[in-house]
């Protein structure tokens, strides 16, 4: 990182915190703080919804995933536009007309207090832990780029976000998200253009696409009906649909964004903006990763992309290491020649020769990683998140590098801000105001800021301890994935049926989580399908119990 890059990054951080602080300076009531006075335009909410969803790991991890696995990940987003249309027609009008602050508040209006409290509590538990991971994961990568310690990176990101969210609440979240999403879009296009222009002179863009296609990197549509295979078209369309419905329809971090619309129309349009933009955006990010994959055919990539692992490996001296590294260097040259031959002729024989060379290269790379793991006692070495980082650090010109790092910060901070704000809202609205009653505007606003600081601090604490909490965090994340489809089932009962009641919904929710837990533990069904399993179980069991045990109102 050169001085110019640091200047760009510092300018971004100072600018976004100041802007967030300034834009949220006029909050007087909790309506302003949590729902931005319900006066936001659709395009701002739409960009905010998008910014909340895209995290730093989405940006750097997805490009890395495309490098190794191609476009397959795109199928997860194919269901998003359908989910947006369904939400616009079902949940959004209910939320909007109920004039609620949280999605769970609607469940009390429809069912009872018990259902609201349980779902809100589960949201706080799951999202509260997950936000620590949202902060920790990019800090590991960013600390290697910036040369700072992980705690320092965590504190810079966490505290700067807490500062403006505490001051301005949802208004600051949405307007800073607009700026951050704009920076992210600029960054995405800059990376794509750099990836195209960095191709060698004798390799055209079309040649690059030909190499990527031969290597199977464009195989986005897999029609295999298997439930265990990751990212099939059916898993993406059906499982992904339930995932997107749950995330955008039942997760407070998203619901709160579109509840800030000045009308139902504004809220709906914000979701439809995402329906139009999300798939192209993911396509561009994945295409960038694929072009990075092609680029490294002509410039030798390190066998280990993680700089820390590479430094550790340098001190290892063994014949196995020498052998693995020699094989890797030879495999690279072989693949480079095969790729050039393929671009020159595009013949079938050249394609076969290239595929064999690519296979040998991948095996040689795995060979180096295996030697590294054995020599250092490391298990499960995975450097997917470091591939794009290595590329930008070595190939992006100074100044632009600072901007790309600012993009990674923006992606992380835009997710964090929405999550801090939604956690504070659920705590304040579903618990403090629900059980203690509304206070004066000044008291409620003060408490809302205290909750924002609390959840921000909690996220920093989890992130700082993440190394030690490893397995505990994994458990909570797993628990979150059990919860996701199941909570959608509760909302389906609320909106799609007349006879479902709170008892049925609550028992159904726990039954759904238990069934997903069993499926996850005892089968190899891919996680995208868990959402369908959870939602269906809750709906069926919840409805059956509601019929068997009618509510008191219904009985009377």
């Amino acid at each position: 990182m050169a001085t110019l890059d640091w200047t760009v990054l510092a300018f971004y951080l100072a600018g976004i915190v100041s802007f967030g602080y300034w834009v949220g300076r006029n909050n007087r009531k909790i309506d302003d703080f949590f729902l931005a006075g319900r006066e936001m335009p659709w395009w701002a909410i739409g960009l905010s919804v998008m910014a909340t969803q895209i995290s730093a790991i989405t940006f750097i991890g997805t490009t890395g995933q495309a490098y190794g696995d191609g476009m397959r990940f795109l199928v997860v987003y194919f269901a998003l536009p359908f989910a947006m249309v369904i939400l616009c027609l079902t949940l959004v009008p209910f939320f909007y007309r109920a004039r609620v602050f949280t999605a769970y508040e609607y469940l009390e209006q429809r069912f009872d207090l018990k259902t609201r409290t349980i779902t809100s509590l589960l949201f706080l538990l799951q999202r509260g832990m997950a936000v620590g991971v949202t902060l920790y994961a990019p800090s590991v990568v960013l600390s290697t780029i910036l040369g700072l310690s992980e705690p320092a990176t965590i504190m810079v990101m966490g505290l700067s976000t807490i500062l403006y969210v505490m001051k301005g609440g949802n208004r600051s979240v949405i307007w800073t998200d607009v700026v951050q999403m704009t920076i992210i879009w600029i960054g995405i296009f800059a990376c794509l253009f750099v990836a195209i222009f960095k191709l060698p002179d004798n390799v055209s863009f079309r040649d690059a696409l030909s190499i990527a296609q031969t290597a199977g990197r464009f195989n986005a549509v897999d029609l295999d009906p298997s439930l265990t295979k990751p990212y099939t078209l059916w898993g993406g369309l059906i499982g992904g649909l339930f995932l997107m419905l749950s995330y955008f329809g039942c997760d407070q971090s998203q619901v709160q964004r579109y509840l800030s619309g000045s009308s139902l129309k504004q809220s709906r349009l914000s979701l439809l903006l995402n329906a139009f933009l999300k798939v192209p955006m993911q396509f561009i990010i994945l295409l960038t990763g694929i072009l990075v994959f092609v680029f490294f055919h002509f410039q030798a990539p390190p066998a280990l992309f993680n700089t820390v692992a590479r430094a550790r490996f340098e001190s290892v001296r063994s014949p196995e290491k020498t052998q693995a590294e020699t094989r890797y260097a030879e495999a690279f040259e072989l693949r480079k020649k095969a790729a050039l031959d393929l671009t020159a002729t595009r013949g079938t024989m050249e394609a076969d020769r290239y595929l064999a060379a690519q296979k040998e290269f991948m095996e040689a790379r795995t060979g180096v990683a295996t030697v590294y793991q054995e020599a250092t006692g490391t298990t499960d070495y995975n450097d997917t998140n470091y591939i794009f980082v290595h590329y930008i650090l070595t190939q992006i010109p100074h100044g632009l590098l600072g901007l790309i790092i600012a993009v990674i910060f923006a992606a992380a901070m835009s997710s964090l801000s929405g999550e801090f704000n939604s956690l504070a809202t659920a705590s304040m609205i579903d618990f403090v105001r629900r059980f203690r009653g509304p206070g004066t505007d000044a008291r409620d606003l003060f408490l809302s800021r205290v909750f924002t600081a609390f959840w921000g601090g909690f996220a920093c604490l989890i992130a700082l301890q993440a190394g030690r909490l490893g397995s505990a965090i994994e458990v909570v994340n797993k628990f979150g994935s059990y919860f996701y489809g199941s909570i959608l089932g509760v909302f389906m009962l609320a909106v799609l049926t007349k006879r479902a009641n709170g008892t049925g919904a609550s028992i159904g929710l726990f039954a759904g989580m238990a069934v997903v837990g069993l499926v996850a533990t005892f089968t190899r069904v891919h996680f995208l399908w868990w959402n369908l399993v959870g939602a269906t179980t809750v709906f069926v069991i919840g409805y059956a119990i509601s019929l068997a045990i009618p509510s008191r109102i219904e009985a009377s």
């Binding site: 986005a220 439809l272 139009f276």
Partner: protein, 45 residues
């Protein structure tokens, strides 16, 4: 019991004019994108 959903929004939807048209466009554009990606993956560059 859920409140009935009122679809009659008096405001005009920007660019598309009606809600029905914007929903149909989202679905058609997405289906077209899926077909394009499928063709893209099989195209001989």
């Amino acid at each position: 019991m859920p409140a009935p959903v009122d679809e009659s929004d008096p405001e005009v939807v920007p660019v598309f004019g009606t809600w029905r048209l914007i929903y149909a466009s989202v679905i058609i554009v997405n289906l077209a994108a899926m077909v394009l990606v499928y063709l893209f993956s099989g195209f001989r560059f």
